[in-house]
């Protein structure tokens, strides 16, 4: 058996491990256009911040590939997939044949799509290469502008501030994290970022990047010009689906997958930021481009490449981060309340940057946001994943003493879900 994995990040690596759980000997090839062994993409924040060195952000030991008998091809771009010949077309090398293919090609930073964007000094915030360039440019200038008030933008702003740069975050919409949290939580984080020395301006976007070759400044859409040599683009990501555009593999927001993470073509799977999966909360197809989801999808896809019998329960939007010592989490439905939804809040103290909000739809927990109150948060996540009926514990849900023993009888034990053994010796199954 010959397994081919396009992508050498969370999904790709976990796919290797998934395959090796069931097939110790099949040939595995991993191709990546990056030139590094697998690293923790999310830790580029820490790398930029200066709290982690490059060699300390490796996701697996250096001998991972050798131990797992993987042929690793770095610095090679996959141009396309020929599903009839069962081979992938490379930019430099000869086409590579496969029996089973996993597309885990990830995503790219969304561009600003404005004039002058190609100038040196404009970077995304996604790859180690981005990080190295940002650090280099940052050394020459003491100031950076970040476009985008989502998590990527904020992480970039945090990393740069930690490094000692003056940071200005520009948000086109009226507030931070407009797609991640509600206005109340956003206001707390806004205040916290400002308290920690990051400038934030809302309702403004860029119109043109100024300079000759190198960035010299930005022209804003209100006509204002600001002088800056380092621009970070944190406008979200776009799945790298171009490699399948000339193939019968179907795409929508990303590459469409079924419950086994297989694409519409037998033997071709997709996982990670490139894959569109069913969102457990909305029930619709989404690209939940998250490290956690990529790991899980990669592992399951890998196992299914060997023996297609492991169902993927679906993805869930789930983020957690720590900014200047303030922990923040947002899982599932986390925006403003719409009809059919309701919210529960605990003893919140925005002055103390402390916040907890639970979103319900009927008798189901569908989302939560916490700031500075993170312990036991996973219990909420479990309730969301298990689509548990929470009517009996509604009142205590947002309380600080809420924890696993309060829900131990509510978590259904569904076949096929992940197994754990409770302290009372029961098998617990959570999606």
């Amino acid at each position: 058996m010959c397994y081919l994995i396009v992508g050498n990040c969370a999904a790709g690596i976990n796919a290797v491990e998934g395959i090796r759980k069931l097939d110790k000997n099949g040939k595995i090839t991993v191709i990546s256009d990056e030139n590094y062994p697998v690293y923790c993409r999310s830790l580029i924040t820490d790398y930029v911040a200066g709290t982690r060195k490059k060699e300390d952000i490796l996701y697996r030991e250096k001998d991972f590939y050798e131990k797992n008998k993987v042929d690793l091809i770095l610095g090679e771009t996959v141009k396309g997939v020929d599903v009839s010949k069962k081979e992938v077309i490379l930019q430099k090398g000869n086409p590579l044949p496969y029996n089973k293919l996993l597309i885990a090609a990830g995503a790219s930073s969304k561009p600003l799509s404005i004039k002058g964007e190609e100038k040196h000094g404009v970077f995304g915030f996604r790859t180690l290469h981005d990080a190295e360039e940002i650090i280099k440019t940052g050394e020459k200038t003491g100031k950076a502008v970040v476009f985008g008030g989502g998590l990527i933008g904020l992480k970039a702003a945090y990393g740069l501030k930690k490094r000692g740069l003056d940071v200005l975050v520009m948000v086109k919409s009226s507030r931070l994290l407009s797609r991640t949290v509600n206005a109340e939580a956003a206001a707390i984080l806004d205040k916290w970022f400002k308290k920690n020395g990051i400038s934030i301006r809302t309702g403004i976007g860029p119109q043109e990047i100024l300079g000759n070759g190198n960035v010299e400044g930005v022209l804003l859409d209100n006509g204002e010009k600001i002088s800056v040599k380092l621009v970070i683009v944190g406008k979200g990501i776009t799945p790298n689906i171009s490699l399948v555009k000339d193939s019968p593999i179907k795409t929508h927001l990303g590459i469409i997958t079924d419950e086994f993470l297989q694409t519409n073509v037998e033997g071709v799977f997709a996982a990670g930021d490139v894959a569109e999966t069913t969102d457990m909360v909305t029930g619709t197809g989404e690209v939940n481009a998250l490290w956690t989801a990529a790991c899980e999808q990669g592992r399951i896809a890998g196992m299914n490449m060997v023996r297609k019998d492991k169902k993927y329960p679906g993805s869930i939007g789930a983020n957690s981060a720590d900014f200047f010592g303030l922990p923040f989490m947002s899982v599932g439905y986390a925006g403003e309340i719409e009809e059919g939804y309701e919210e529960l809040t605990g003893s919140n103290d925005p002055e103390e940057y402390s916040y907890k909000r639970i979103v319900l739809k009927g008798n189901r927990l569908v989302g939560f946001t916490t700031i500075n109150k993170i312990e036991n948060a996973g219990v909420y996540t479990a309730l969301i994943r298990n689509k548990a009926d929470i009517s009996s514990i509604r009142d205590i849900l947002p309380e600080d003493y809420f924890d696993y023993p309060k829900v131990k009888d509510l978590l259904e034990r569904k076949e096929g879900f992940r197994e754990s053994i409770s302290p009372q010796g029961e098998i617990i199954r959570i999606a």
Partner: protein, 170 residues
């Protein structure tokens, strides 16, 4: 694999397991010194409450397919292929709390770093260096047991006759 189980009928909520765990996790390994360590050692077991004030000691379940491992963006949490233990390399932890966000049991806890400049996630390692985990050894009533799940089930059923003890008899 052997895990820590609890016979809830025997737990008196004394918190002895919690103290024993914190002492085990301290640098000094001695109660009197541990209570003044900076930072304070964090117990990996917590005695929670259930209805009617019953107590429920809880620590990492060392899941078959742990959510925390998928969630760990730093690759710090790994499953030991030989022992099945879910272990965290605290040096690697960056304190992103993804594991806390996904652990269905809520047993991953937050500890200050020695320099107090940051926090990391900490969890039960089933006292790898000991024959019996400190919490189990400390349990005066025998509520905590360290054994295979089958063994636990047969022990508890024996102690309760034909009552269905496994499905939350409390």
């Amino acid at each position: 694999m052997k895990r820590v189980f609890v016979n809830l009928d025997k737990c008196l909520g004394c918190n002895g397991c919690m103290i024993a765990c914190a002492v085990e996790q301290s640098s000094a390994g001695d109660l009197f010194k541990a209570i003044s360590e900076m930072p304070l050692p964090v117990s990996r077991i917590e005695v929670k409450t259930v209805d009617e004030g019953g107590s429920f000691p809880l620590q990492c379940r060392h899941c078959e397919e742990p959510y925390c491992i998928d969630a760990c963006i730093a690759g710090a949490i790994r499953k030991d292929p030989e022992t099945g233990l879910v272990l965290s390399d605290e040096e690697k932890c960056v304190g992103c709390w993804m594991c806390v966000m996904t652990c269905p049991f809520g047993v991953i806890r937050v500890s200050l770093l020695p320099d107090k400049k940051g926090k990391i996630a900490v969890k039960c390692d089933l006292c790898q260096d000991r024959k019996i985990p400190a919490c189990v050894e400390a349990c005066h009533t025998g509520a905590l047991l360290f054994c295979e799940v089958e063994q636990f089930i047969s022990l508890v059923s024996k102690s309760k006759g034909d009552r269905d003890v496994l499905l939350n008899s409390r």
